[in-house]
Symmetry: C2
């Protein structure tokens, strides 16, 4: 069914620093990331023909609902073009990217912009936590007494994974340590600590056994943007260093065929099919480490490790920055940060920066094929939305 699809390239990426910026607006953050992506591509605002904007909780945090993308664009010079505001919980950024890809691949437009922006930090610290809990079915009961309903929900699945595979809290602490050490090399990361140890991680305050605070993605603000162009229109941006999107897949949870494969696994399989590559071809991965355990579990869902072998990748250092298959060299959600709607585009920022060899101190060895996985929400016992993109030089 995809015979009509055109090749699509990433020509520009932009990202703000991630962190807690009580004095910055959604508009200012979004506009900075967009300006960065345009500048990176050598593009002007007038080159953009369609915009897909992701945000998750501005309605609950800043009061801005419904036209969040258009409001951000007032600060960018981009106007008059179709704007679609998308939401898919923590996978909103990759959903916007997927639709931008679809708009270009299908020939609707030649140049599309995806961006995600999020303001989460709030003087009332409960507010973002409760807002994030709306990524589940709010008509179903949740543990509202938990300090983090989402993490508490994750924790029971994690304990089952530990008993099934022998994964230990120390494995998760090693993942969190990797995240902090990578984050320390990333100027845009919210956190980073080059000298932290797994023991420090294990000793930290507990969120929900086995997770401690530094094993979980933080509350933060930030924005990221990606400019896409049809391969046959690349001559409009002669100064850009293009990267190619080989796969763009979005799925939602629950397997219609009852085969038991979860959303992440199905998204990954479809993406490998679309790209004509397998996990063994990957040089670099940015995945959705909502917490350190979910990174290990995703090694298996994405086919990077066989079933039950997730912890081995940690113990052997395979996914370290200087390992065989670096995962989350940006610091991932845990250290780079996770301003919800921005994450999917921030992952592409990192892949593009690495594939171009411009990642400085955190550069991984000459990557050519890279994968990003961004998941969000929890409905019907599975991830509500999961998107996988594969990029190549």
């Amino acid at each position: 069914m995809e015979s009509n699809v055109r090749n699509v390239a990433v020509v520009g990426v932009g990202q703000t620093a991630f962190g807690k910026f009580l004095d910055r607006s959604l508009k200012g953050l979004g506009a900075e990331a967009i300006a960065g992506a345009l500048d990176d591509a050598g593009a002007r605002a007038a080159d953009v023909q369609a915009v897909f904007a992701a945000n998750a909780i501005a309605g609950l945090i800043t009061g801005q609902e419904m036209v969040r993308g258009q409001v951000v664009l007032t600060a960018t010079g981009i106007e008059g073009v179709p704007v679609v505001n998308v939401e898919n919980a923590c996978a909103g950024g990759a959903t916007a990217l997927h639709l931008s890809w679809m708009a270009v691949a299908s020939g609707q437009v030649d140049v599309a912009l995806a961006f995600g922006a999020e303001k989460m930090a709030h003087e009332d610290k409960r507010k973002p936590v409760l807002a994030i809990a709306t990524a589940m079915d709010v008509e179903e009961p949740i543990d509202v007494d938990s300090p983090s309903p989402f993490m508490s929900h994750y924790a029971s699945r994690i304990r089952r994974y530990m008993s099934d595979t022998g994964a230990t809290a120390t494995d998760f602490a090693m993942v969190a340590t990797k995240a902090q050490r990578n984050g320390a090399l990333n100027d845009l990361a919210q956190y980073g600590d080059a000298s932290i140890t797994p023991e420090d991680i294990l000793r930290a305050r507990s969120v929900a056994d086995p997770l401690t605070v530094p094993m979980c993605s933080p509350i933060g603000d930030g924005a990221a943007a990606v400019l896409l162009v049809a391969q046959d229109a690349l001559n409009r941006f002669p100064d850009a260093q293009p990267l190619y999107i080989r796969a763009s897949v979005l799925v939602s949870g629950s397997d219609p065929d009852g085969g038991g494969a979860g959303a992440i696994e199905r998204a990954a399989r479809a993406a490998y099919d679309q790209a004509g590559v397998g996990p063994e071809d990957l040089d670099l991965v940015e995945l959705h480490d909502a917490n350190a355990a979910s990174e290990v579990m995703r090694y298996e869902s994405l086919g990077l490790a066989a079933a039950g072998d997730g912890p081995k990748l940690v113990r052997t250092g395979t996914t370290a920055r200087d390992g065989e298959l670096p995962v989350n060299p940006s610091g991932g959600l845990i250290a780079r940060g996770h301003p919800v709607g921005a994450t999917g585009c921030a992952q592409i920022y990192e892949l593009a920066t690495q594939l171009r060899g411009r990642a400085g101190a955190r550069q991984v060895a000459t990557p050519r094929v890279a994968l990003a996985e961004n998941g969000g929400g929890w409905v019907r016992g599975d991830v509500a939305a999961d998107a996988v993109h594969i990029l190549t030089t």
Copy 2:
């Protein structure tokens, strides 16, 4: 750029009754509309390959953000397929439809479902009014003392239109009367009054001069759904009575070329181009009458009347149900109701019902070409998002 586009048909439409249903959930309303659309097409849940879901203010009214579509789908049997949650203020429904069309037209999928669902009614009546006000840039000052910030904002533009064209409050009262009389013939309409007169409308409580309460779209709950299929896959639904989408256009406000054309006018022009028809070819229109005056102004923006001639279409009865070009035979936003995210799909429900000759007492004479226009939000002095669709038998 659209050489790759496949023809797309509407094969199923569904709509709930619109009204104030404090005891009904977003999930129940959405599921009813979706079941109606599947049933209408002779389709099963497993036939649906992608879903685009529109909702505007559930986050502020019910607390459900981020994965609203997935939550509604739990009550439908549709699972595992890509789900995108879209928002574009009052144009969310048509935005979901546009993306569904894009997914099918581009060959990404053969069968896509667009739906919009909205719960607005709340025990605290201020809540939906303030929620709707988030369709503007919340960082800009608004008249929070107004009983309806949005209508108050409209009112100043309306007064300028009146002084430019000679339109009178009586013209607007006649539009509202038409809406109520049409609504009286529509079982799914929130309001309808076969015996109301323009004098009744003028005597009603003022919202913001010249608008009175029955000239404005009400707060309400409801859902609508549209099932789309590629023309070359129509054989999957042998019992369906297909209608063809000749144009699907989405734009946002502000003219990039500085030519002064507003979003509605640009969307209409592009849709006429795409469909290869002009306003003179239309047999039927459902347009976004957020209030009675905006219907008259839209006659001009959509090219149904020359500049300044909007009021003539009212005075001559041209747009009455039995007139030359019936507009809003459903009762429109004013009488059928305007559960924000649902409206764009409800307009298509009406066009399809009329084009198939199944509208019963409100049937207009043998229509073949019909247009729907759905607008939303207000940013940078223009409609933030406007979508136009043209359907034919």
